[in-house]
């Protein structure tokens, strides 16, 4: 028994059960965001993968890995996007070290 089931990805629509109108709005927004626009579908899929890894959603990681491949990205490009997201996440932690330095400096002679 585990909390995440691969099959649940295909059951995403079931979340509409109690609030269909909200899910409908979400899906319209979600779908529109991934359409070709000022950014290509391929660029958007790479952003989606980077975000999916960052928010650590296994469903999103599966979905956007497929989406990247089906939009013509290769593993080198996908891994670069994952590194960038991870580095930003690391940087976001590291910058908070300044808070620590500031706190130290405030109480230190």
């Amino acid at each position: 028994m585990h909390y995440y089931n691969e099959e649940d990805l295909s059951r995403f629509g079931d979340i509409a059960k109690y609030k269909p109108e909200l899910f409908e709005k979400f899906m319209a927004w979600y779908g529109a965001c991934q359409e070709e626009g000022e950014l290509t579908k391929r660029e958007k899929a790479l952003i989606g993968l980077a975000v999916a890894v960052t928010v650590q959603c296994p469903y999103c990681i599966d979905a956007f890995t497929s989406s990247c491949l089906e939009n013509g990205s290769n593993m080198e490009q996908m891994t670069e996007s994952i590194h960038l997201a991870s580095a930003i996440r690391g940087g976001a932690s590291l910058i908070h070290g300044i808070q620590s330095h500031n706190a130290h400096d405030k109480v230190s002679m």
């Binding site: 497929s66 089906e70 939009n71 013509g72």
Partner: protein, 333 residues
């Protein structure tokens, strides 16, 4: 059927397990052929490669090879019914003894000739002059190259295939294939795994840029083809636990806009024994034409085969997913 021609089928006949039948998804539409513009001839299963996704289950150990009398019957049908295009596939068609005879005779009756050439066969003994032969006969060469790097290509087609393919492409460029206003060299992309191909124009741009930058190679067009869930690829889908997911993907991506452009509507397929099918995939699944129609190249009658009802099964989802898939690539924008 001519005496001495052996009718024997050894191909895998396993169908994919689909969550819904193709006919149910298609609805009340009855799929019918239009004019037969292409005679697609699978001359046999012998190949110098054994690719993981091959729907023919072709390999160096296969012995099915089209005999001369079937070749002659194909030429007769091309000539008698003015079929514009002969599309020769295999296996590696160059390995059958009558390959060059077939091509030169077809050109003599002014058929356009497409050869589905795997590139590496050019390195086999006795095949070194293939580029010159193709050029002299103004053959349209269509060659698979699943990706512009060795890792992906070799993973699907065998160790060392990428390097040999690049060398073969250089030789084809050297005799004028793939250049502007030259002879036609088209490449085929198919996914290295259980996913759909990307947008054809987009990935063609990548291939053109990367093959030129890395290897100085040019080509005319890139065709994207979806992996067909039959034969060796279906075996792999099952072994890897991907069949359910892949079939759902194909079904969910069913695109009605692909139906008008399906290749089965404009071609008829001939196997190495002369038997007819609606496409090369049906041929491998041992699916003959609909009942009541001529069943071999020896009793080919154009008027009875045009506008025939096309026989379908659940593997047909492979041709209708996304932008669609055919021997000429995507069929819908």
């Amino acid at each position: 059927m001519q005496a001495g021609v052996q009718i024997e089928r050894k191909g895998a006949r396993t169908f994919p397990r689909s969550p819904i039948s193709f006919q149910e998804k298609l609805g009340p539409v009855e799929l019918r052929s239009l004019a037969i513009e292409t005679l697609q001839v699978n001359v046999g299963k012998l190949c110098n490669q054994a690719c993981k996704h091959c729907h023919v289950d072709a390999s160096p150990t296969r012995t099915e090879i089209m005999p001369r009398e079937v070749v002659d019957a194909c030429l007769q049908a091309l000539h008698e019914f003015n079929i514009p295009t002969l599309d020769i596939t295999g296996g590696a068609p160059e390995l059958i003894p009558d390959f060059r005879y077939f091509v030169t005779e077809a050109r003599a009756i002014r058929a356009n000739v497409i050869v589905r050439h795997n590139l590496t066969v050019m390195h086999e003994e006795g095949q070194e002059e293939l580029p010159q032969f193709f050029a002299e006969n103004r053959v349209e060469v269509v060659s698979s190259l699943p990706y512009f790097n060795a890792a992906k290509t070799d993973s699907q087609r065998g160790t060392g295939v990428f390097d040999k393919s690049i060398e073969a492409l250089r030789r084809l460029n050297d005799v004028g294939f793939g250049l502007e206003n030259g002879l036609t060299l088209n490449l085929v992309y198919n996914p290295v795994g259980a996913f759909l191909p990307p947008d054809q124009a987009s990935i063609e741009g990548d291939f053109k840029r990367e093959l030129m930058a890395r290897y100085g190679i040019s080509f005319n067009s890139l065709f994207t083809i979806t992996n067909m869930p039959i034969a060796r690829f279906l075996d792999w889908l099952r072994r890897s636990g991907n069949e359910t997911h892949y079939m759902s993907k194909l079904v969910n991506a069913f695109n009605p806009a692909t139906v008008d452009g399906l290749m089965c509507r404009n071609l008829i397929s001939v196997d190495w024994t002369g038997r007819l099918s609606d496409c090369d995939f049906n041929q491998m699944l041992d699916m003959p034409l609909a009942d009541g129609l001529p069943q071999t190249i020896f009793d080919f009658k154009l008027e009875r085969l045009s506008e025939r009802r096309i026989v379908t099964a659940d593997h047909c989802f492979g041709c209708t997913a996304g932008a669609g898939s055919s021997c000429g690539g995507a069929v819908a924008g």
